[in-house]
């Protein structure tokens, strides 16, 4: 009998403590109750919603883990800092002008290629192709997204440009991309957009004289264009370079505005920060949460895919296979030399930055084995929407990507920064499930996500 009473009393006390804690009666719902619930993995919102034990454990994170999850959230993305090398980068007139130029296939000799040919707004500003390809010819690299790219210090997979505006110039003269030349594009823009150009950059130079400003002249591989460029006076070349740089600065003013949107993961991170497990369970399946755990845990993905853009913005060799028939791509070890020599770099005469502001270029790493075959870590925001993957588009889907990370073959030449994950099928599936939670439409004024008014 005593045992019975004892048992009943015990049950009553336990019930009373539980009820008091959960309802907040004990201590008026004050800090201790909250702390206790926190400690036990319960949250205010879990109250009465009947989370299963497995759901609780799936969304149960230590304080350090919650800090780490929050560090990946878009809520931690700082406002976009100005680009000191582009004085027009945040000028609304330049945004509008750049918007038109971005979609204008007049910036190609046959009128068939614009920036938007490969950076398609409806495809998260990528093209879905293994390698960028216009007019039926492959380029050596896969089209990266430009969403959120304004936060980068380096542009292109090998970082051979150090500003968005300098980057925007190179495809215009690449034979397998726009295929144009700076004299042709300067002339075209000054004719087609004269008033917009002058409103931003002042009186346009007169480059109408073809004896001084040949129709196609540029310091590029094309022999005729190069000879024509070399035949111009230094002063005339500078005049053209100035107009060309201004075209790039306008395009960059537009593309700077294309920001990543808020994904389901970001809502989850906000819930994780305040340890709201019921909300976390609403937002993520247990598999997605398990994938997140692997992402920063055993997967070590956050070594490189860290911060709110899930990229550390630097260069790593991950031992990727070559596309059939292609040669080894040096990646960053060549890109460093190119950016240092670029006439349009931060320290150059067409940059608006003081030398002091060109920190990345001044302290660029030029030596080191780790540069060989290294490529820029891409953002993982919207990764599910930007297949194929890697600088050479070697992997058609995320399954293939994870298989590579599971095996992590050694790199040759160079050394791979990967260690084999050897994840089970279940773990690999969870990791992919997590990656899918990073989807979100770009965050930009709707009019910027389509061709300017009046164009196709």
């Amino acid at each position: 009998m005593r045992r019975l009473i004892g048992g009943a009393l015990l049950a009553l006390v336990a019930l009373a403590i539980t009820v008091a804690l959960l309802t907040g009666e004990l201590g008026g719902g004050g800090p201790f109750g909250a702390a206790f619930r926190d400690m036990m993995g319960w949250s205010e919102h879990a109250n009465g919603r009947g989370l299963s034990a497995s759901a609780l454990s799936a969304h149960s994170w230590t304080e350090a883990e919650r800090g780490l999850i929050a560090s990946l959230s878009i809520d931690r993305l700082p406002p976009l800092p100005p680009d000191p090398s582009n004085a027009f980068g945040d000028d609304p007139a330049a945004v509008s002008f750049g918007h038109e130029l971005f979609f204008d296939s007049g910036l190609s000799p046959d009128g068939s290629v614009s920036c938007a040919t490969c950076h398609q707004p409806e495809s998260y500003f990528t093209d879905g192709k293994r390698l960028a390809n216009v007019r039926g010819a492959d380029t050596p690299r896969h089209t990266p997204t430009i969403v959120g790219i304004a936060y980068s210090d380096w542009f292109y997979w090998d970082g051979r440009k150090d500003s968005q505006w300098a980057q925007a110039l190179a495809p215009q003269e690449a034979p397998v991309e726009h295929g144009g030349s700076r004299t042709a594009h300067a002339r075209y823009v000054l004719e087609a957009y004269r008033s917009q150009y002058e409103a931003l950059f002042g009186t346009a130079p007169d480059i109408g004289d073809e004896s001084r400003f040949p129709a196609h002249a540029a310091p590029i591989d094309d022999e005729a264009a190069r000879a024509a460029w070399d035949g111009m006076t230094a002063s005339d070349r500078q005049t053209v370079n100035r107009v060309f740089a201004n075209i790039g600065k306008s395009i960059a003013a537009y593309s700077r505005r294309i920001m990543p949107g808020r994904s389901r993961f970001d809502d989850y991170a906000a819930a994780a920060l305040v340890n709201d497990q019921a909300r976390m369970a609403e937002l993520f399946t247990e598999e997605e949460a398990a994938g997140l755990r692997l992402f920063f845990g055993d997967g070590q993905c956050t070594d490189c895919h860290n911060g709110p853009l899930l990229s550390n913005g630097t260069f790593h060799n991950i031992g990727l296979p070559l596309q059939e028939g292609s040669n080894f791509d040096q990646g960053r070890s060549l890109g460093t030399l190119q950016v240092v020599d670029d006439v349009f770099n931060c320290l150059g005469e067409f940059s608006d930055a003081d030398e002091e502001a060109c920190v990345e270029l001044r302290f660029i790493k030029l030596e080191g084995d780790e540069l060989v075959g290294a490529f820029k870590v891409p953002t993982l925001r919207n990764v599910a929407e930007t297949a194929p993957y890697m600088h050479n588009g070697i992997f058609p889907d995320l399954d293939a990507v994870i298989r590579h990370y599971n095996h992590a073959p050694p790199a040759f030449p160079g050394h791979s920064d990967l260690v084999p994950l050897a994840f089970s099928e279940e773990q690999s599936a969870a990791l992919i499930a997590f990656l899918l939670t990073l989807n979100a439409p770009p965050n930009a004024p709707p009019e910027l996500l389509q061709p300017p008014h009046g164009e196709e």
């Binding site: 045992r3 004892g6 048992g7 009393l9 015990l10 006390v13 336990a14 009373a16 403590i17 004990l26 201590g27 008026g28 004050g30 800090p31 201790f32 109750g33 909250a34 702390a35 206790f36 926190d38 400690m39 304080e63 350090a64 919650r66 800090g67 780490l68 929050a70 560090s71 990946l72 931690r76 210090d153 920060l273 920063f296 956050t302 070594d303 490189c304 860290n306 911060g307 550390n312 913005g313 630097t314 260069f315 920190v359 990345e360 001044r362 302290f363 660029i364 790493k365 030029l366 030596e367 080191g368 780790e370 050394h415 920064d417």
Partner: protein
């Protein structure tokens, strides 16, 4: 454990909880100006400031060079140090008898030995600030984990080196 002793333990727990709640009860009504109770805070601020790799700017303790010629300190101008941001440090060098070393040449090396890679940048000393202080620019860390920073210091005909090891958590 018998049921009786379990019951006693449960009652004691209840008593403890009630007393603890009384103890903190005033905090709820007087939040303004009330200092945080030292023992009760579950959320440590430093923990929630985590950036996926950070440490206090002055986290590194002064250290003697390998052969004891110099004592070197290294303090980040970015505080806290966070990943993915290029920033500067101030290096201070003095001799074992605490005389500032004002004519040092300093070369920089370092990285993540465990990952077999160096810094993502090429940091270097750009300015002698006087009084044994030197400006080290171009420092950057691109991931959390254990990093090392090695300084090779020459002053007159003497050379010595020091390696700091630290973790961005």
């Amino acid at each position: 454990m018998t049921k009786k002793s379990f019951l006693v333990a449960a009652l004691m727990t209840l008593a403890f909880l009630l007393s603890a709640c009384n103890m903190v009860a005033p905090m709820q009504n007087g939040e303004e100006g009330m200092p945080m109770d030292e023992g009760m805070a579950m959320d440590d601020d430093s923990g929630m400031d985590m950036s996926g790799g950070s440490m206090a700017g002055d986290a590194i303790e002064a250290q003697s060079t390998e052969n004891g010629l110099f004592i070197v300190s290294a303090v980040s101008q970015l505080d806290p140090v966070v990943i993915n941001e290029t920033h500067s440090w101030i290096i201070h060098i003095e001799t074992a008898d605490e005389t500032p070393v004002i004519d040092a040449d300093i070369s920089i090396d370092g990285g993540m030995p465990e990952h077999n890679h160096g810094f993502p940048t090429a940091p270097r000393v750009t300015e002698n600030l006087g009084d044994g202080d030197y400006l080290l620019e171009g420092m950057r860390f691109n991931m959390g984990g254990v990093w090392v920073l090695t300084l090779e210091i020459s002053s007159g005909d003497q050379t010595d080196s020091v390696t700091f090891e630290f973790e961005l958590k």
